[in-house]
Amino acid sequence: MNARRHNLANVLATGVVAAVLVLTGLFWARSLWGTLRHNWRFHAVPEVRVGWSSPFLWERGNDPNLGAPYVLTARPLPDAPLRAGLGLVQYVLSRMPMGPESYVYRWSLHPDEDCLYYDRTLGQIVYNGTKKVTNLDGKPAIAHFSYYAGPEGVALLPDEKLGRFIDPIVDRFPLRPLIVYDRGLTRFFAIDWTGQAVRKGPELPQDGRHRPVQIGMLEKNQQSLQVMFVQSDKDRSGRHIPASNFMVGPFPMTHRTPVLDASGRIDLLDMDTLELVRSEMHLRAPASLYSRGGIATPKEVAAYSVSPISSRPPGGGGTWTYAGCSVAALSRDGTSVRLDVFDPNGRVVASNETTVPQHVRTGGGGLTLAKLALESLHPPIFLFLSYFPASQFEATAGYRSLLLLPDSFLAMKARDKEGRPIEEFFASMVFMIPALILVLLLAWRVDRDGGRIGLSKNERTAWVAGTVVFGLPAYITYRLTRPKVTPVTCANCGMGRRPDLEKCHHCGSPWVVPELVPPAWRVIGEPEPAEDGSPSEAQPASSPVQ
């Protein structure tokens, strides 16, 4: 390996090491900033509340004496951003049984508990259950059984005749017939294990507007968002209400269950007919310090929780009916919550959002500057590249991203989508100005130092370009890999010159070492011939041989 390739390999290796370590350090600095800001706001900003002092208007009329006060509250939990987004948390939550991406829908470490999962090899959903039986000798025992369900039916053994599910998602609530939507077959199924039957719903139209992503328990990153329903046992006049007539949660009170679409629309599934009923309900992201809010897709919010509301006549007894939905959503940065309540027709009847106190807004300015400063330390190329896929980033991706910055000001501006694309582009690039100022300063230092230690013009150009593109990691790489030489004063021009170069890189003069004063004489003899008699090369003569 020659010296030039050798050095290039060293530079590349050092660059990668510096980049990984610097980017990791910056990541944690940003995470710490985000957590501090979140927790600061968490203590300063009250929870979001939506209350009813009467039953829904559409049910009982506007009689304030009927019904009881109901309050729905939602708030982000401490350290919500990290809980929501960190790679390790996401990995564990998604891979572990019953996680959002897991094919294991029900599972327990205890061998006597039920287990429900999708077997990709068979293409069927498997239910391993237990039941109490009595032995022949009269003693109680636990019997294990297995059911296999495909689109065409249920059996005790795996059978090709049952068909194959291609890409199922299920309602993970345990107590209903299992509702399954298969994204490959584009229809709903209801699996009744007890009756060993499978009901099929109609095929959904392939118009791109029907893309269910979750059924029943609609929630994401529930460890980051707390939603509570509080119901008083007295009405407004103080009369005791013996039985609750309101229930919020994915309980099987009615035959309707919510289905979340990829667009953020929340439809209703009739569990008897397995037909999807379109509605006007939608996920909505709250406004926060750094985003406008509005209609959102599941990817665009850090966490959400959708709970159907069921009601029955007061006094207990009676049939539960579907009474609407509550939808709580957490903003990307984990600081703001929006809570909406929809009636059975999908209209918003109550809504509230995080209100930020003035002192928090003011303090937010300092935090904003700190955020901008941290982003400016990031390599400009990655900051720039964050613009293009900004809309594609999942809401919590910023909490596990090393290279691109999904939560940077630049990416936020790119997601705004107001105005013409070219205007948006330049408006976003304004946020790169501090980063560019920093890297130009670093590049100037690199150029100056390179000139001082005698790097060639091409090398200096390459380093300056690299520093402008890659920023701080490139500068650190330069400092670690630059030739470590102590310049020697040139006897000709008086500047520092590199001893490993034949000529002074300032004035081009050859070497003179004035501090060494060797004698003027030399005694240099001819080399002796080799033992085999062949002549050897002549010595370099420094004085004539006598």
Binding site: L516, P518, P519, A530, S536, Q539, Q546
Partner: protein
């Protein structure tokens, strides 16, 4: 094809901005015992370390057994025996373990010869290296270097710490090695009597330059020390070139001159000295004269 096991081309070495070697060029012929001399800090050890690839040169290159020193292959390393100044040995190892390590990493190992050396030096195998005396460590180092049957032996002050008997043993060993066809030795030492005994060729480093690089006989014949007595006061300037050293006292002048020749003789005679006597010089005398700080040196531009 250059048959010299060691070739140095315009070698320059700087340490922290201080020049140690300033353009050294030499070639050590095969089968030669080359004595490298110089005062403390003149760069002998530096040059040896550069030859072995332990230190990178600042400029220039060195070639050992046909390979660039910075790219010596394992095979080439295996053909070179090295005794370092200070004796690089792993202090925490026992002698037996160290011997086993060197044996395992050598291309050739002369067990019989090594055993003979260990017996001659009476070195204990079960003692840790750090518990050996300085002299015993030197002997061990020497034995390990010799046992690999090296084609080229590089010794950096090998007799440092050896007693008189051990030194004599070493010299005899060196002669024994050199008597084998094609073996070459480069060694540096401060004990010039030893160098004079065995070296064929001498190199002397002064102020970063190689001022002497010739055979011992040639050196003795080309550097002359003369005691000159003038009728009146010794002249201020003799107009002689290549004066190594010069001392005057009244009518007497002691003059050491390099490359003495008839022309210089003729110039001296123009000053009509009363007498001119050559003083015999040993290698040590020559070395002292060569490395003494110059008190009266002819400017370089006058060198022919």
């Amino acid at each position: 094809m250059n048959d010299s096991p060691i070739v140095v081309e315009n070698l320059v070495k700087y340490y922290e901005g201080r020049c140690v070697l300033d353009g050294i060029s030499l070639a050590v012929p095969r089968g030669c015992i080359y004595g490298l001399l110089g005062r403390n800090g003149s760069g002998k050890t530096t040059m040896i370390r550069i030859l072995l690839g332990l230190e990178p040169p600042t400029r220039g290159r060195t070639v050992v057994l046909g390979q660039d020193s910075m790219r010596l292959s394992a095979q080439t390393h295996g053909r070179v025996g090295y005794v370092a100044e200070g004796h690089y040995l792993i202090q925490s190892y026992k002698v037996r373990r160290l011997v086993g390590l060197c044996k395992g990493l050598s291309l050739r190992w002369n067990e019989e010869f090594f055993g003979h050396l260990m017996e001659a030096f009476r070195l204990p195998m079960d003692r840790k290296v750090k518990d050996l005396s300085a002299g015993m460590r030197a002997q061990l180092n020497l034995a390990l270097a010799m046992a690999i049957d090296p084609e080229l032996l590089i010794l950096d002050d090998p007799t440092l710490g050896l007693d008189t008997v051990a030194r004599r043993q070493f010299l005899e060993l060196a002669i024994d090695v050199i008597q084998r066809q094609g073996r070459t030795i480069l060694f540096s030492s401060h004990i010039l009597a030893d160098v004079e005994r065995i070296a064929d060729r001498i190199g002397v480093l002064v102020a970063g330059k190689l001022v002497v690089d010739c055979t011992l006989e040639e050196l003795k014949s080309r550097i002359k020390k003369l005691r000159v007595i003038f009728p009146e006061r010794a002249p201020e300037d003799l107009y002689l070139t290549e004066i190594v050293n010069q001392q005057k006292q009244g009518r007497e002048m002691v003059l050491t001159v390099a490359n003495w020749n008839p022309q210089k003789q003729a110039i001296l005679e123009t000053f009509r000295p009363e007498s001119c006597t050559e003083l015999p010089m040993s290698l040590e005398d020559i070395f002292i004269e060569c490395t003494r700080p110059a008190s009266a040196v002819v400017p370089q531009e006058m060198v022919g």
